[in-house]
Amino acid sequence: MNPAVAVRGLDVRFGVKQVLRSVDLTIARGELLGLCGPNGAGKSTLLRTLLGLVARQGGEVQVGDRDPARDPLGVRRTTSYLPGENGVYLQLTGSAYLDFALGFFPRHDRERRERLLAHFALPLGQKVRSYSAGMKQKLALLAALVPDVDLYVLDEPDRALDASVRFVLRDELLAMQRAGKTILLSSHHLGEVEALADRLVFLLDGVFVADERLAAARAQLRRRPRVRLAAGQPLPAGARELHREADGTLVVATDQDPMQWLRACPDGAVDSVEIGIPRLEDLYQLLLQGAGEVQP
């Protein structure tokens, strides 16, 4: 059986700016793939290329059995897309917007619709103009998740959502995956995407970061705990300060394993410490600094 998405050697340029360079990506049917990367890495462009919204300059793209450049309509009939800008019409009521957005797709998952409506508790009779950012995102999510299609392409679905709604979204995406749906989602919440996705890929400056390089960067990040020192206490020996955050938290680099360093710290020197929880921004920073690259 063909994969849900097959991309080989994809090149996309906007004028002289090369946005995607020889990108290769395969998503198996029923897979939930997480796509991460800093702003401007080319994530949205990649998703748009899959939908046939952006023209490519080179390479091959197949979504299902179709090439989005040759048959964009065929691709969009079997793909539900949540744009990065949630694209809700402010002048419509919530229910009018849903009717409009869902009207393009012949088949809907009514159970999912009812379930999400119950969780989201949106005032559908009110104009979208009166909605908060989170409510608009919930409405856009409903419009993206309710169509019954093969592939769901979600650009930052958790944007502006609070933690409880992100859990609902996570459960729903897992249920969809269990039902055999293929999901490609980009997100800035690394921990949640990692917990959710079968596989995680990193896009950096238009190319995917190799798995080995990512693993090396993460290992390096593990030796960079976030530490809050007790009042008046100096940084214990065996670690050096990398930077200090606005709330006083120190990001430090330890000479040895951070757990060993922590055990060796004098009693009462450290108030709290965070080890082994990679933050996306730290990972980006390391990768941008060339972490994990093979040295000549």
Partner: protein, 270 residues
């Protein structure tokens, strides 16, 4: 769906446009007998420096009141209401068709739906076109009724032909604005660009030696008066090589704007 949504967005503006057209139509028709009498006594227009104004004056002061009334209708309903209010409405309806989608960040959503771009253009344009031209036909048809109140009669077929020509002109303005709405992305820029173009055209029209180069030469008194007088059959309107064949040129220009808009929408990226 897109058509229904577009229509819902425009319907109240279209109703206001219809009411304005009707409000401009009714008094000038019902007061025609007094106006005609006053015009007979007036010599003000004879001293106007613009020759087209003189010809208008000669037309509406014709010794035959029936002919003068038709010329009055040509000036008031067509040269004034259609060209000014109708053009303003076409620009208003066309400006937001695509630029508003971009400003509200719904353009990507729209393009990513499983619907062809040609269908998006069509489903946005036809409700806007309907809202632009239908009030014209309604108000001009009402002129038939109001005319009976002052003992005048307007020829139905000729009035319809003149209205059809005015409608084609407004469709051209609408499609031109829709095309600009795709290219310029910001509603204010679209309105400013099309507005500036139309003001320039009015300026050219009011300049004696270059008047023939103005777009409004295609929809002025000198075009409408012969039609309402019954001197221009419909096939002459559609003959591009006939001196009354301006309708055919407007239709061609409308088609050209549609093709340009379709080309730009096909190429449009979110």
């Amino acid at each position: 769906m897109i058509a229904g949504k577009t229509f819902r967005e425009l319907r109240w503006m279209a109703l206001a446009y219809l009411l304005i057209l009707e409000a401009l139509c009714v008094p000038v028709l019902l007061w025609w007998p007094d106006i005609y009498a006053d015009l007979q006594r007036s010599s003000l227009f004879r001293s106007l420096p613009l020759d087209f104004a003189k010809r208008i004056f000669e037309g509406i002061t014709d010794k035959d009141e029936g002919i003068a009334y038709r010329n009055w209708v040509a000036v008031m309903l067509f040269f004034r209401s259609c060209n000014l209010v109708g053009t303003a409405a076409a620009v208003l309806f066309g400006t937001g068709l695509f630029a508003r989608e971009r400003e509200n960040q719904t353009f990507e959503f729209l393009l990513s739906r499983p619907i062809a771009r040609g269908a998006i253009l069509w489903q946005k344009l036809w409700p806007a076109a309907l809202c632009t031209v239908l009030p014209l036909f309604v108000v001009n048809a009402s002129a038939l009724y109001w005319s009976t109140h002052i003992g005048e009669q307007l020829p139905v077929a000729e009035l319809f032909l003149a209205t059809a020509h005015a409608a084609v002109f407004l469709l051209f303005v609408l499609t031109l604005t829709a095309w600009a709405s795709l290219r310029l992305r910001v509603q204010a820029h679209v309105a400013a660009a099309v507005g500036a173009f139309l003001v320039l055209q009015i300026g050219v029209y009011l300049t004696q030696r270059i008047r023939g180069f103005s777009l409004f030469r295609l929809v002025d008194f000198e075009w409408y008066a012969p039609v309402l007088a019954g001197n221009t059959p419909w096939w002459q309107m559609l003959d591009p090589f006939h001196r009354h064949g301006f309708t055919s040129w407007l239709l061609l220009a409308t088609a050209a704007c549609l093709v340009l808009a379709w080309r730009d929408l096909r190429r449009a990226a979110p």
